[in-house]
């Protein structure tokens, strides 16, 4: 593997949680005009992909599945230093749950001849964390989730990941190709370089693939998603007293009533 590794990083466009405000009286969210941004855990994935490239050589390709405007998250990744980007976009993908989503990303990763696929811990809008193990399962590849740090061993064709597990950690050596989900906050994402950012926003054009380019048009979309949203209920906002007291003595009295 003298040419280094083909590193693929999965980035997703989500509504900006910081711009979503809670209406204190109804407990509901105003998110209609929240702008779409890069899923923040995916920043850790991008950083980790760039660090891996620095360690072993090779290329970093960002991929996203989404509507054409999702090109923006590829631009963010390219601005940070990714070499290129692929946009999986097709009406046929609409309504996909994690099963077809991970299929599309898995096929694209195989098409790119990936050695390592790096994802975020979970997406802030669907927050399942299911897509990374799903990609690995579709391709029969190894997987490392909740990863705090990576240690490549290119001579052995192995990637060692330090995983956060309940009560401690473990280090797991995974054969390539491998799908990694970085733990949110595992590293400090670098800012985009000015020239790279200008390139990403003016010259960079992603490669576009449709479902039929990937040969999966019969396996994606709402119809091929095992899960269906059966209903939505507004979560009854928890009734709280919302009393703000002026002194610690007053606060203590309220606490004393409880315990």
């Amino acid at each position: 593997m003298t040419d280094g590794w083909n590193i693929v990083v999965c980035v997703k466009q989500v509504p900006d949680a910081d711009d979503v405000t809670i209406d204190p009286d109804t407990g509901t969210l105003n998110r209609s005009d929240a702008p779409a941004v890069l899923n923040s855990p995916d920043r850790n994935a991008v950083e980790s992909a760039l660090e891996l490239r620095a360690a072993v050589g090779g290329t970093v390709t960002a991929i996203t599945m989404g509507p054409p405007v999702a090109k923006a998250v590829l631009q963010t990744a390219v601005g940070a230093g990714a070499d290129g980007g692929v946009l999986l976009t097709d009406r046929a993908f609409g309504g996909s749950d994690t099963w077809p989503t991970s299929l599309a990303l898995a096929r694209a990763a195989a098409e790119l001849d990936a050695d390592v696929v790096i994802c975020g811990e979970e997406s802030t809008d669907s927050s399942t964390g299911q897509v990374p193990p799903g990609i690995a399962a579709h391709n029969g590849w190894s997987q490392l989730t909740y990863v705090e740090s990576l240690e490549p061993r290119p001579d052995e064709g192995v990637l060692v990941g330090k995983r956060d597990v309940e009560g401690g950690y473990e280090r797991v050596a995974a054969q390539l190709p491998v799908v990694v989900a970085m733990e949110f906050g595992a590293n400090v994402p670098r800012p985009a370089g000015l020239h790279r950012k200008i390139f990403a926003e003016t010259e960079f054009e992603p490669v576009e693939w449709t479902a039929s380019d990937l040969g999966i048009e019969e396996q994606v979309g709402l119809a091929n998603s095992p899960t269906k949203v059966g209903g939505m209920d507004t979560a009854s906002p928890v009734e709280r007293e919302r009393v703000v007291v002026d002194s610690v003595d007053d606060l203590y009295e309220h606490i004393e009533e409880v315990v």
Binding site: A17, I22, D97, T98, W99, E122, D125, S127, T128, G129, Q130, P132, P133, G134, A136, A137, H138, S142, Q143, T145, R163, D164, V165, E166, G167, G168, Y169, E170, R171, V172, A173, A174, Q175, F184, G185, P226, T227, K228, G231, M232, D233, T234, A235, V238, R240, E241, R242, V243, V244, V245, D246, S247, V248, L251, Y252, H254, I255, E256, V258, V259
Partner: protein, 337 residues
């Protein structure tokens, strides 16, 4: 593509264990699984995988499972996604469970995501309510983005119907059923994976004791506002006889152990009293403590969202407020002692 759903029956619970110790969330799910199986008229089946873990399979039967399936082999210790996944796939293909419940721990989510794909199962993450409808269809409910709504997810045409649930959401209860010979209800299954076919190796595993904050009556939680000094939190928790908890921000800083993290990606607690100090009140945090009886907030910022989600609040520096509060609690204890 859909399957003959009539062929699928039984409620399975994946019993997560490490080194022979069962993750408490597995017993919580076994208790919930019992309710669901009673409603659908199916059997409750515990799935136990590991090396030399037949006692755990028997424990699952004693705790209410009708049967336990035991996959016992050195290849299953410690946990790895690929051998566990392959064994599970083979079992599902052969035995066709209708519902599979898995703990929402890192291990459980790693496993669930892996196995749902080959089974073409519907998998719903982080459910906070589980029920079955008249036709025995699983109704898996979870808060959606921002916690403003509850979405109920169904899986009408695929099996199994899988769900993960974070620790602390359901009550493990006390095993009451008396089973004279639990071993009789344990079936050892054929192991279909071989070590040489695995894709990964665990080269080091460092795991200490794991605290369980989910049953505490009093929880005192600190956030980024502690600025590295958790002593005021620990002292108040000690005075009140409660547990220390934290936001993900405080855990990420290394001030507190991860097992004490409350929130969407941590534990769910529902104490009588939850004190949130130096915590802004992000939706991901609120999700883990919103069922607390009484919430008290201490924050320097009067506009912090936590005040909207608290019963009693005080605007102030936690490094001053908490020690004063601790002193009042201690003084009262001395008077009554």
């Amino acid at each position: 593509m859909s399957v003959d759903i009539e062929a699928y029956e039984d409620v399975w619970v994946f019993v997560e264990q490490h080194d022979g110790v069962v993750a408490p969330v597995s017993w919580e799910l076994l208790a919930k699984g019992r309710e669901l199986a009673d409603e659908t008229g199916d059997d409750l089946v515990a799935l136990v995988m590991g090396d030399g873990v037949s006692a755990l399979a028997e424990a699952a039967v004693s705790r209410g499972a009708d049967r336990a399936l035991l996959a016992d082999d050195p290849v299953f210790e410690p946990y790895r996604a690929d051998p566990y996944g392959e064994q599970f796939r083979a079992l599902v293909e052969e035995r066709k469970p209708s519902i599979v419940l898995i703990g929402g721990s890192h291990t459980g989510r790693d496993f669930a995501g892996r196995v749902a794909v080959p089974a073409h199962a519907g998998l719903t993450a982080d459910c906070t309510e589980l029920d079955v409808d008249d036709e025995g269809l699983l109704l898996a409910s979870r808060p959606t983005f921002g916690g403003d709504a509850m979405a109920t997810i169904k899986c009408p045409a695929h099996r199994p119907q899988m769900a993960t649930v974070r620790p602390g959401v359901f009550d493990a209860g006390n095993p009451t059923e008396h089973v004279s010979d639990p071993a009789a209800a344990v079936e050892e299954v054929e192991v279909v994976v071989a070590e040489e076919d695995t894709l990964s190796t665990v080269i080091e595993r460092v795991v200490g004791d794991v605290v369980d904050i989910t049953d505490a009556d009093v929880v005192v939680a600190g956030g980024a506002g502690c600025e590295g000094n958790f002593a005021p939190i620990e002292e108040l928790a000690d005075a009140l006889g409660g547990e220390v908890a934290a936001t993900r921000a405080a855990v990420d800083e290394g001030w507190v152990e991860p097992a004490r993290q409350v929130g969407q990606t941590g534990k769910t607690v529902r104490p009588q009293l939850y004190v949130a100090a130096g915590i802004s009140g992000a939706v991901q945090h609120l999700e883990g403590m919103n069922d607390s009886d009484v919430v008290v907030a201490v924050n320097t910022d009067p506009n912090a969202p936590i005040f909207e989600n608290a019963d009693y609040g005080i605007v102030g520096d936690l490094h001053e407020v908490l020690p004063e509060l601790t002193a009042l609690v201690r003084a009262k204890q001395e008077v009554t002692a």
